[in-house]
Amino acid sequence: MNETAVITESNEDLLTAAGRGDDEAFHRLYQQTNRQVYAYLMRLLNNETLVKDVFVDTYSEIWKSAPKFRSQSPALSWMIGVARNLAMNRLKRIRHYDDIDEPTLELATVDDNSLEQQQTKSLVHGALAQLKPQHREIISLVLLQEYSYQMVADIMDIPLNTAKTRVFYAKELLTKKLTEMGISKNDIE
């Protein structure tokens, strides 16, 4: 096992160690990041079968491309970037045949939520599913744990100010969808 990986456990160190062929470090990197990468793909692709497929492809590609990682950017951003490229390629191929914007996901059941809260979340989820992938993506990215606008801009390869503007534009679209579905701001509060 790589000594650096044991001591620091940062995503950057683990990804660097994985690039040297340390599969134990890669395993730990997977454990630390899989939920965020999977969540990002879920939010972007909105189709669980497709997400599972792209998710496995993503980590396979991360393992293969890890030697190319340079520590100038956060490892998670780099990994999300890999996931994004694969997801976008898959979206282009699928759109050629079908429209994947149709909602297909079911929210996980949370026992301690009230029925009303759960219904509201289901409606929000339905509204998210109706957004275009790029709008769903930017809202999802900006709400990922400890993400900055700059990281979102880097992943989406857009200017920083464009990223900020798009976040709120996408959020306004979502609010509009919710209003159409009969959810007001008062229901949310």
Partner: protein, 212 residues
């Protein structure tokens, strides 16, 4: 300050995802207290974040599939650092790796078996009956010499005279106990000769020499 203030609005998602510094967080919470509109928008982002957090997560199937794929791709995709390490170890390591190669081991075992089989086939006599021999077997090459042990009292003149009469000559001797190895001057059946020799007073022992 209102929720339309670009600075505080920008902070909303960052407040939800926990990326604000302590001082930014404190300032933003102060702004929230002063602006119900900002609080309302924060609630919307929170709800979106909570909804997204409840989406399904990867399970063991994805994990297993991923690591099976990685394991199966390992020999084909040795990364550059590993390849360099192999080159640095030089010829000796390369030879060692070659020796411990399982395919080579099986190949060597197969070759050994073939060589052993060929040797055995070539060493075994064609005649099944001749595979084992005993000293008394008639199929052995006929003896052409005789072991003779003379009486201690026998003189060399008596021995020489006897050998001359029977057409024999000394091959080896005299040895310990007056032992001689003698042979016939001409090819002949030794059995009758042995019978005659055994009848002679100066001979204690007469037998074909089977060790020649």
């Amino acid at each position: 300050m209102t929720s339309n203030d670009p600075k505080w609005r920008e902070f909303i998602p960052l407040y939800v995802n926990g990326s604000l510094s302590a001082s930014q967080r404190q300032a933003f919470e102060q702004a929230l207290a002063d602006d119900p509109g900002l609080q309302s928008e924060l609630d919307e982002f929170r709800l979106i974040g909570q909804t997204l957090d409840e989406l399904p997560m990867p399970d063991d199937a994805e994990f297993d599939q991923l690591f099976r794929r990685i394991e199966s791709s390992k020999p084909a995709q040795l990364t550059a650092p590993q390849a360099v390490t192999k080159q640095k170890t030089g010829l000796f390591e390369g030879f060692r790796q070659w020796l411990v190669n399982p395919f080579l081991a099986w190949g060597v075992a197969a070759a050994q078996f073939i060589v052993l089989a060929l040797v055995l086939v070539n060493l075994l006599p064609e005649n099944e009956d001749a595979r084992y021999q005993t000293l008394s077997q008639t199929s052995m090459r006929p003896a052409s010499s005789i072991n003779l042990v003379f009486q201690p009292s026998a003189t060399m003149a008596e021995i020489s005279e006897l050998l001359r009469k029977q057409g024999l000559h000394i091959v080896n001797g005299p040895g310990v106990g007056n032992h001689f190895v003698v042979a016939s001057d001409t090819p002949m059946n030794l059995d009758p000769l042995l019978e005659q020799l055994r009848q002679t007073d100066i001979i204690r022992f007469a037998e074909k020499n089977l060790t020649e």
